[in-house]
Point group: C2
Chain length 245, copies 2
């Protein structure tokens, strides 16, 4: 149980808004149960009857969809403190698969716990609403990348996005990240083949834009990369001005 130290969820949300005791109590209820997953383990699959959302407690996960012929699209990488499943909430069945990118831990909670929040805490409701729609905006950014960017730009966007997300809970973070996804997975996230990911990353490294050290990746000129893809940080701030008090 996660009572001794603050949970990642509370940490992440309190970055945006002050959480009172009642709100923290509601959030703690979302993390009552937990379950461990090992690298590449499936959490749930498209078409599964699904009445749960999940809070990521530890490790990286990702959501993805498959096409009948085996093509795969990774939709979103999920980090500790993220909530998994908002886009699925409108349906009885899961619309995508979720898998552990590395060993990790999730806290499942039923949709009906949101109902309690909706009835008892308008402020937390507004926050949940904002987080879900912020994630929506991030998927739109990915869509833009996939539709109109070439391979180098997509990779830059991908790395910038991840680093911006990790900074929410670790403001002091440098421009070096641990990268627990292989090139096949990165390709599936960006609509590229793993061979082309390999080639492009190598070229970016040769150009001095990034450097690697094992599973660790460092962005060389973050400003230059940001300009290249016209990057907007969707994580640094949230408009809470209209929230109920």
């Amino acid at each position: 149980m996660s009572t001794q130290s603050k949970s990642c969820l509370v940490e992440k949300l309190s970055y945006y808004v002050d959480l009172d005791d009642i709100a923290e109590k509601h959030l703690a209820a979302l993390e009552e149960h937990e379950r461990n997953y090992y690298r590449h383990q499936e959490v749930y699959s498209e078409g599964d009857e699904l009445q749960y959302l999940h809070v990521v407690k530890e490790g990286w996960f990702y959501s993805y969809t498959d096409m009948p012929d085996g093509r795969r699209q990774i939709i979103r990488v999920l980090h500790p403190g993220d909530i998994i499943g908002f886009p699925d909430i409108s349906f009885e069945e899961a619309t995508c698969n979720v898998r552990a990118s590395e060993d990790g831990c999730l806290c499942p909670f039923p949709k009906s716990k949101l109902d309690v929040i909706f009835r008892e805490s308008p402020k937390l409701t507004a926050l949940m609403f904002s987080i879900a729609n912020r994630d929506h905006a991030c998927v739109i950014d990915t869509l833009r990348a996939m539709g109109r960017m070439d391979a180098r730009e997509r990779l830059s966007y991908f790395f910038l996005d991840i680093i911006a997300r990790l900074r929410v809970t670790n403001k002091a973070m440098s421009n070096t990240i641990r990268m627990p996804m292989n090139q096949h997975e990165i390709g599936d996230a960006l609509g590229l083949t793993h061979t082309y990911v390999s080639k492009t990353i190598r070229e970016m490294e040769d150009a001095g834009l990034i450097s690697r050290n094992g599973a660790t990746l460092t962005l060389g000129y973050e400003d230059k990369l940001r300009d290249m893809v016209d990057f907007s940080d969707r994580y640094a701030t949230l408009d809470t001005s209209w929230f109920p008090s």
Copy 2:
């Protein structure tokens, strides 16, 4: 004012759940004001300070983003009864542009009207939450199409999506739709060039998959097209089982 006949918004939402008088009153408040737009007119632009959402009252609109070098990505086509702006709600500034695809009419309402709904109607809150996240799931479907489908599949997906949406308010609709977007816009929605859209549509027509008549488009073998892209209808049903009563 839209008091004599039911508004598109109410019509669309009551497709999913019974709306009581209080809910209808809240929804009517979202459509108090209205403004007309002509074809290709900009509603708002990326970076604009934006405290409003909009209900589409009449006509097709679309949201899109531009890259500095002129590349453009259309994110989503919006029809009467749709709510524009959920993905922007978390930010003070608009994250995308919105434009009229043809002459039409919008009803702007401030974010703070959601706040009222959050405080007074948990049921309508859950519905808004579901609609916003349903739209999120639809953008994910588009992402899948852009990442892993070829041109013909993307076009099939695009047409199937539109027809499924229109069926929510018009169940009797055949497989013929009016298509008020030109091929350049369709290309921007699907990450293709307008010349390639033209070529591919022509080939699909020659193959008997679709047929055209002016600005009207008919899907030949809807089942075949659905199989080709593994299509899921996100509009026909919504899971309301967990809603507060």
